[in-house]
Symmetry: C2
Subunit: 121 residues, 2 copies
DNA sequence: CTAATACTGAACCATATGGTTCAGTATTTC
DNA sequence: GAAATACTGAACCATATGGTTCAGTATTAG
């Protein structure tokens, strides 16, 4: 595992993550699905602007959408970022020393997860 | 920790990682430092082109450079991507189910690290 | 049926990539 | 000192963001 990196996919994922609004959208969708209008309002942006962000997230596989009636609902996509995490972890590894910090981060997040409880699925 | 994300830094890091050439440069520099000429040759690119990539990596803090005489040497920077890993891990967490996969990835990389031994520093 | 809602598309704008070529400048090397 | 080496900067090109406004189209509410 974590042997071959689909570079095109990594390109799209990292590019999608390089914008604060899009990271915010992902965080939002992790809590609950939302329409374009919902997201546009929350991020103080026009519908058209938000639609573009969603397009980029969709192309990267991070978000999927479905239109029912006049409303397009956005949800987190199938892409689980394992490859991206692997790439970063590998960089960490070569970088050597501070690698253990990632363990702590994850342990911490797991502890928090138990307290919060999974909110979707 | 992993509470406040410096969004500008995350923007720059993820953007820097969104290009296959730049990820390749990082992998290269993880093995050994290199001049602009070295890197330009390895990635079949003009000096000027490679210089631009290095500039982006430098602004993101992923690479540092030092010019001695007429040669500019590039090395991995101080930025250790812990925050980026944390963000992705957090997404993983909310995404719930597949989170444990990251543990395996890391365990695997750690095992490999022991075999390889740290190559720098 | 009319009006409001929700999205969509085209067009436009400024800026950033990802690259190039061409013309320098600064350092070695011979 | 002349020539090769290594980088640097400006200028240019195409494409992609990140956003907007404006003008639709399709649905739903009244």
């Amino acid at each position: 595992m974590v042997q071959y990196f689909g570079t095109a996919r990594l390109d799209a994922s990292f590019a999608a993550l390089s914008d604060a609004t899009r990271r915010g959208v992902i965080e939002q969708l992790a809590r609950a699905e939302a329409s374009i209008t919902d997201l546009a309002e929350r991020f103080h942006m026009t519908l058209t602007g938000m639609k573009k962000h969603i397009g980029i997230l969709e192309r990267a596989g991070l978000v999927v959408t479905e239109k029912v009636g006049r409303v397009r609902t956005c949800r987190l996509g199938a892409q689980d970022l394992a490859e991206e995490a692997g790439w970063i972890a590998s960089y960490h590894q070569r970088w050597s020393a501070r690698f253990d910090a990632l363990d702590d981060v994850i342990a911490e997040l797991k502890a928090k997860e138990k307290m919060d409880g999974p909110e979707r699925q």
